[in-house]
Amino acid sequence: MEDNVAIRVSNLTKKFKVYYDKGRSLKEVILFRNRNKHEVRTVLNDVSFDIKKGEAVGLIGHNGCGKSTLLKLISGILYPDGGSVDIKGRVSSLLELGAGFHPDMSGRENIYINASIFGLTREEIEARLQTIIDFSELAGFIDNPVRTYSSGMYMRLAFSVAINVDAEVLLIDEILAVGDANFQAKCFSKLQEIKEKGTTIVIVSHSLSQIENICDRSIWINDGVIRADGTPLAVHSEYLEFMNEQRKAAGGKDLDIPPEYVAYMQERRYKENLKLSMIPEQQAAVEANGGQYRWGSGEVKITSITASGPDGVGKRLFEVGTDVYFKVHYHVEKPIKDAVFGIGFFRNSGENLYGTNTRIDGKPNFDIDEDGEFTIIMRKIPLMPDQYTVSFSIEYGDGVPVDYWKDALKIDTYRQTPDVGGFFMEHDWEYEVKGQDNG
C-alpha cells in the first residue's frame, strides 16, 4: 500500500443471511427445520476504493444501501465474505457514544472505562484527561455519578472522550446531533480541527449538508456498489436527481417532492453561489471581460455588487415576496456625463424576465465624476423558487453601454407554500359556501 493511502478497500463483498423466521433454540431447529429458510442478500458487491491520508469522505445512499455495513467493515466490527480492508494507523469509531458507561460510577471513572474501550493506555488517558473534561464543560460535575447527569451532559461526556482519542482514522456514523446548538457547533469546529491535523475521516450521514461542510469527497453507495464518487456537490446533485426520479416513479406524481428536499436544494444552490462569489473580484472581472458576458466602453466599471435584505447583510437566498436590495459600487477611470443605471433579471436558460433603467423610470440622467455606489430596491420580488441571473449596467443616455455586466450575480428564491408557476401573483379569494351552516 502506498504511503499516502490511509484506507484501502479492495473487492469487498459482504453477504447477510436474512432469516424469514429464525429459530435459534434446539427445539425450533429440530422441529421446524423448514422454518429456517433464509435468503442470502449481498449487501456489498465487489467494492473497491482508496482513501488518502487526511481525506474526509462522506458515504451516502438511501436506507439499506450498505453504507453502514461498509463503515462497520472498515472499522473491523464485521468481517468481509470476500476482499479486504487495509488501514494504516489507529482507528477510532464514533459509532456508539458512551460505550461501557456505568451509571453508578463518576464521570471521571467513566472516562477511563470508555477510553480504555477505544484502546487507550492509562498514560494516554491521563494525558488527555483535562482536555476531555474541558471539552465536555462538565468540570463541576466530573466526580458525580453519571446517573445524576442529564441526557445532554451524558452525551457531551461521551462525545468528548470519543473525539479526543486522537486516532489517525476517524469513523463516524450519524452522531453529530449531540447536545444543544452550541455544543454541536463546538463538535463541528473540533472536527474541522481534527481534519486540519491530517486525520482521515469517514462519515456516514443522512445529512448531505453536514457532509458538504466537512468532506472533500462523497461516495454514493447504491445496491451494494459504488454509484458515484467525487466532490460532494457533484455526487449529491446526482444522488438527489436519482432519488427524485425514484420518488416520481414510485408515486407517479410530479410534485411529490418532500419539503426538506426543496429546502436542501435551495441551501445547496446558495452555497454553490457563495463559492462562486468567493472567487476574487478581480479575477471574476477579468474572466467576464474576456468572455461574452460583459462589455462596454469602460470609462466606469462596476467593482462589486451586494445583494441583501433590508438589514444590509449580504446573501443570495431570498424568500419570494420579500424586498431585495442590490448595492452596486463602481470605479471611475474617466468621468462621464449623462449616465443611466440599469438592472435585468434572467432565467438561467437566458429568458429575459424583467429589465429597467433610470431613464425608463423617468429619473434624470446624471454625471459620474468619482467612485461611488447606487442601490436599487426590488420590492416584493415575485420570482418563484429557482435560480436567477441578475445583470447590471451603466450606459450613456443614448444607450451606448459603458459597463454592461450580463451575468453579474445569481440569486435564489424559495417559498414555504407549494403554489406553482413562474411568478407569484398577488391574489384574494371571495366566495360563499352554500348549503353549509356556519353557525
Binding site: 433454540s25 462497520k72 468481517y79 456508539e96 460510577m105 474501550i117 488517558i125
Partner: protein, 258 residues
Amino acid sequence: MNKLKEIYEYRLMIYSLVKRDLRGKYKGSVLGFMWTFVNPLLQLLVYNMVFSIIMKAGVDKFYLYLFVGLIPWLFFSAAITGGSTCIIAQKDLIKKIRFPREIIPISFVTSQFVNMLLSFIVVIIVSVVSGVRPTIGGLLCLPIIMLVEYLMALGIALISSSLTVYFRDLEHILAIVAMAWLYATPICYPVEMVPEKYLSLYNLNPVTPIVNAYRDVLYWGRTPDLRTLIIAVCIGLVTVVLGIIIFGRLQRRFAEEL
C-alpha cells in the same frame, strides 16, 4: 501471537471492566463489598449442615474439607455458566465498537477469579484457625494451582461464550452440566467413596487434580505432587489455546448474530 499482543494493548480495558464489575456488583446493598466474604461463609454453613448432620461423609473436619474444595469450584462453575452468556450480555459493545472480543470473556473470568482470591483470604484464615499448618512448598504451589484453574476456566469460557452466540440453548445446557460436574468432582465427598470400577472414568475429570492440590495445601498441610501439577499446567494451557482458536473463528460473525 498478534492476537496476544493486541489483547495486551487493551489491558486497561480488562482492568476497567473487572473493576466496573466488582464495584457495580454489590452497589446499593447494605453489606456492599463485604458480601464477597459473607457469601462463601453462608454457603459453607449450608453445605456443612447438610453433609455433617444429615448425610455424614465420615471425614474429619468436614467443613474445612468442603470449604477448600468449594471455593475454587464456585469460581469454576461461575466461569462456565456466566461465561456462556457474557458475550450476549455485552452485545451493544460488540455491535458498535471494534476491540479484541476476547477481552469480554477474559474480563469476566478475571473478575470471578478476583472474587475467588478474596474468598481465599477467608479460606486460609479458617484453615489456620482449624489447626492446619501448611508447608512452605505447599504455599508456593498455591499460585500455580490457581493459575492452572484460571487457565482452564478461561479456555472453557472462551469456547462456551462464543458457541452460545450461535446456539442459545447452550446457556441452559451448561447450567445442568455445571451441576453434574459438581457431583463428578470430589468436593462434597472424598474420592474414597467412588466405587473402584468407575475410578478410571472418574479420574478423567480435569478439575479433580486441581481440587486435590488445593486440599493438599490447605487441608492436609502437605506439598502437592509436582508431577500432577505439571500435567495440570499442560491441560490448562491446551484449554486456553483451544479456546482462543475456537473463539477467534467464531467471533467473526458475532456482530451479525447478536
